[in-house]
């Protein structure tokens, strides 16, 4: 590491209507280092990097690259200065090839494309940094991990020596994460500056040389990785000590609540999304389903809750066949659902917190009188839940869209858990939530397990699935690759299953329904 900084941001201030996203932020990164930018949601990480990449202009403060002051009016200026950014959502043209995507937007040959030269250069870069990808493949043919490699290649091809990655591991399997990390390592060795936005502590400890922690738009501290620990980082991020590992009490399992038999269903695009999935979930059990998003998780949750027709197979809840029943009937059977899309499905953003809390309970006899709603009873009911679930809201009449992500999820949980579900289907229950909110959601799920609910937990976060679940299944392209007890599961094996390798029957793990 040299003493000459490649990036120096001083006194950066950026205000959005209603929020001070960045407040006097000083940030320095050096060539050859992997620098993690760690913080909760809304801490200002992405805003800061979007400023560095020229997407936003700071209200105050200055940026220097390699000791020279710069001012970017757009990402074009930033790219010209050797900055590259890989966004959370990839910016690739699906119908074009890798080589075409890499040259897209470059000025080097205005009319005639010399793709031959591009291919050679891509091959060189791929070789050098371990970014294996077929230059002539179309983007839509590639896996998410491969698409990310194309994004990185695009940056390197443009000669970027400062690379910003916004939550790059969110969409990857553990093996892909390992490949990505070795690529990042090689880039750092070549003298590139790698800036890595994340809120995952394990990753930070595994890959970063130095870590800058943001909280509430301010820098808490910049530390060297060997000098810190996950616990210390979590405390800096949240501002209070956090329980990183929850104690999972042993719970006696009861009767089978959910029985899924050879279920099949189509995706929104009318393609087979579930190709014969079978499993059971018992009282007092958390059954985890791991897998990279888009392998049938959403469809599975929707079939069980009656929101998507099954094209084959059966769903039984407490031994009653509810296949293709209406959602209303399934709710009456005691099924709670924490949907993946919080504001798109789980809540009505423009309506008040109270309206959202009674979204299912408004039919209850205690809250109604004939066709009328009992407004006083509802107010009391909602007040009680707001207190019980610690929903931070100015009042119960506040539109729910004004709440933070963690409080949105608390609102959904308050509604679903207060109905005392016999089965709770939780889909990505902590996605996008910060550590504090995640901790609260995990606690609530474990509490439900202790009280004897059956829980189907669908999540991309392998750590989450492993810590919470009693048994873990892996879903790949609409099929279950294997079911293992959580205490016997290892990340390697699950990672392979997430990538499509079925569990070997001879393994020392129990198997069911495959």
């Amino acid at each position: 590491m040299t003493t000459n900084s490649s990036v120096r941001m001083a006194g950066i201030k950026k205000r959005f209507p209603g929020v001070l996203a960045n407040d006097q932020i000083d940030f320095v990164a050096y060539p050859g280092e992997i620098h993690a930018l760690l913080g909760e949601n809304g801490a200002g990480k992405s805003t800061l990097m979007n400023i560095l990449f020229g997407i936003y202009q700071p209200d105050e403060g200055e940026i220097s690259l390699h000791g020279h002051k710069v001012q970017f009016r757009s990402p074009r200026d930033a790219i010209a200065q050797g900055i590259g950014m890989v966004h959370q959502h990839f910016m690739l043209v699906e119908v074009q090839t890798v080589a075409e995507n890499v040259t897209l937007g470059l000025n080097e040959s205005r009319f005639l494309l010399n793709l031959g030269k591009t291919r050679t250069r891509i091959a060189e870069l791929a070789q050098k940094y371990g970014l294996q990808v077929d230059a002539d493949a179309h983007i839509w043919q590639l896996s998410v991990g491969e698409q990310q490699r194309v994004e990185i290649l695009k940056m390197l091809y443009r000669g970027a020596d400062i690379l910003i990655l916004d939550e790059p591991t969110a969409v990857l399997t553990p093996q892909e994460v390992r490949d990505l990390f070795s690529t990042l390592r090689r880039m750092a060795c070549e003298g590139h500056t790698v800036i890595f936005i994340t809120h995952k502590l394990d990753e930070v400890m595994a890959i970063a040389d130095r870590i800058t922690v943001l909280c509430g738009g301010r820098v808490v501290s910049t530390v060297k990785t060997p000098d810190t620990s996950k616990e210390l980082l979590a405390k800096m991020m949240v501002g209070r000590p956090v329980l990183l590992y929850l104690e999972k009490q042993p719970v006696e399992k009861g009767e089978i609540v959910l029985q899924v038999e050879n279920i099949q269903a189509l995706s929104d695009k009318r393609m087979p999304a579930l190709k014969g999935v079978s499993f059971t979930v018992q009282q007092g059990e958390i059954f985890g389903i791991a897998g990279v998003a888009g392998n049938g998780q959403r469809e599975l949750a929707e079939v069980i809750t009656g929101l998507r027709p099954a094209s084959g197979g059966r769903v039984l809840i407490s031994n009653v066949d509810v296949t293709n029943c209406t959602p209303c009937r399934i709710i009456q059977k005691g099924v709670g659902h924490i949907p993946e899309d919080r504001t798109g499905m789980g809540l009505v953003p423009n309506l008040a917190v109270s309206d959202n809390i009674i979204l299912k309970a408004y039919r209850q006899p205690t809250l109604t009188k004939g066709p009328f709603l009992k407004r006083l009873s509802i107010r009391a009911f909602v007040d009680r839940l707001i207190k019980l679930f610690n929903i931070a809201t100015p009042s119960q009449d506040t539109p729910v869209k004004q709440l933070s992500g963690g409080n949105l999820q608390r609102t959904i949980l308050a509604r679903e858990i207060s109905a005392i579900p016999s089965l709770l289907v939780a889909v990505h229950p902590t996605r996008g939530l910060d550590i504090g909110a995640t901790e609260a959601v995990h606690k609530m799920l474990l509490e439900q397990r202790s009280t004897g609910a059956a829980i189907l937990l669908i999540s991309e976060d392998l750590d989450e699935v492993l810590t919470l679940s009693d048994r873990v299944a892996t879903l790949y392209e609409g099929q279950i690759m294997g079911i293992v007890p959580a205490e016997k599961a290892n990340v390697e094996e699950l990672g392979l299953m997430m990538g499509g390798t079925p569990l070997v029957a001879s393994a020392s793990t129990c198997q069911e329904g495959v």
Binding site: F16, P17, G18, A21, G39, N41, G42, A43, G44, K45, S46, T47, N50, I55, Y56, Q57, D59, D166, E167, I197, H199, T305, L307, T326, P327, C328, R329, I330, I331, H337, P339, D341, G344, M345, G346, L347, V348, P349, N350, L351, D355, I358, L359, K360, Y362, R363, T368, P371, F372, L373, R375, Q402
Partner: protein, 367 residues
């Protein structure tokens, strides 16, 4: 200098009143310029309009007469719009209600002589409501079961119904003793919807007031109203919560079409007392504006309907007393609407001038 537009978090009450007042003033100014352009004195014209619409017992009652169908259709439209079901077929539903009422008034009494008004009028009211409801049900079912866009179907069905009215009074239902004039025979007195003595204001006003109260109660206090709000704001959340969208679309369109049908039935049995020209004069379309300006609030619909009716009657007045073209009233109506809907933007968005350009909050991404 840079100008950018930012969404306000909560539009203030004061601002709402101010924009309303300001848009009214601006539209009067623009209208005044237009009046001047056609050679009239704006002050005099406005005065004539005001007096013509509200200045005497007669003009006030005529304004009310025009307000009744606007109220009923406006209420029907606003409940459908609340659920984001874009029913723009009120005109056709009104026409069908008129046809049903006329059919009952013309063909029932001859077959059952001696029916009193107490027996005949409920049939007419129910028939008009049912016919409008059925007409409204067509786009509802098409939308609910096969996903056909209701804007297209409800709009197109207007023309079917309007032409059906004309076919009937030019053709099979034409009065044989009518000297060739288009129109049915006059209905028997038992089929006349009662009027307030000395005016043409009829029982439809009571229906409109009752309907507004009923809809307000449903929306604000009942389970059904809650379901309508949820579906209107987020249909996916409604399905997720087990609320049947199909059932609600069907119910709402029965109510929406029914109210328009009721307006049609009242119009033919209280005003013309026969089915003839002048039933489909655009109440169903103007009522869309009523519903929109009233922000879909059933009680506000009553006020806005009266206001727009006054504009219509006042427009007729200046046409008669000042010899101005009929289009002037329409232009004024357009100007008022333009400024009111334009003012809506200033109510919901803030315009910031002079600072450095930044991304709009929608583009803001947080980690």
């Amino acid at each position: 200098m840079h100008i950018r537009i930012e969404r306000r978090l909560t539009p203030s009450r004061l601002l709402t009143g101010l924009t309303l007042l300001l848009s009214l003033i601006l539209s009067l100014i623009v209208g005044g310029m237009l009046l001047r352009a056609v050679g009239a004195d704006p002050i005099k014209a406005y005065r004539a309009m005001l007096l013509g619409a509200l200045g005497s017992k007669y003009s006030l009652s005529e304004t009310l007469v025009k307000a009744i169908p606007l109220m009923l259709c406006g209420l029907g439209i606003s409940v459908a719009f609340r659920m984001r079901f874009w029913n723009i077929g009120a005109e056709g539903q009104l026409a069908m209600g008129g046809i049903a009422a006329a059919g009952i008034a013309l063909f029932v009494p001859p077959r059952f002589p001696g029916l009193s008004a107490w027996q005949l009028l409920p049939m007419i009211v129910a028939g008009g409501f049912a016919a409008g409801a059925l007409w409204g049900l067509i786009p509802a079912l098409l939308k609910a079961y096969i996903g056909v866009n209701e804007i297209i179907t409800s709009l197109m069905l207007n023309y079917v119904a309007i032409l059906l009215v004309e076919y009937l009074f030019y053709g099979p239902w034409k009065d044989p003793k009518g000297y060739g004039f288009p129109g049915t025979a006059e209905f028997p007195p038992a089929a006349w919807l009662p009027r307030l003595p000395g005016t043409r204001v009829h029982l439809g006003l009571v229906f409109a007031l009752l309907a507004a109260g009923f809809i307000w109660l449903v929306l604000a206090r009942t389970k059904w109203g809650y379901e309508i709000r949820v579906i209107g704001e987020n249909p996916r959340a409604a399905s997720y919560a087990g609320i049947s969208i199909v059932r609600n679309v069907v119910l709402i369109m029965c109510l929406s079409g029914g109210l328009a049908g009721l307006a049609g039935a009242a119009e033919v049995t209280a005003i013309a007392r026969r089915l003839t020209k002048g039933l489909t004069v655009g109440y169903g379309f103007t009522a869309i504006i009523v519903a929109w300006l009233a922000k879909l609030n059933p009680l506000a619909v009553l006020v806005v309907a009266f206001f727009l009716a006054a504009l219509l009657v006042g427009g007729d007045q200046i046409q008669i007393t000042m010899g101005l073209p009929a289009a002037v009233a329409l232009i004024l109506q357009g100007a008022i609407l333009f400024f009111m809907l334009g003012g809506e933007m200033f109510r919901q968005y803030d315009i910031v001038v002079g600072r450095k350009p930044t991304a709009s909050p929608e583009e803001k991404t947080q980690p």
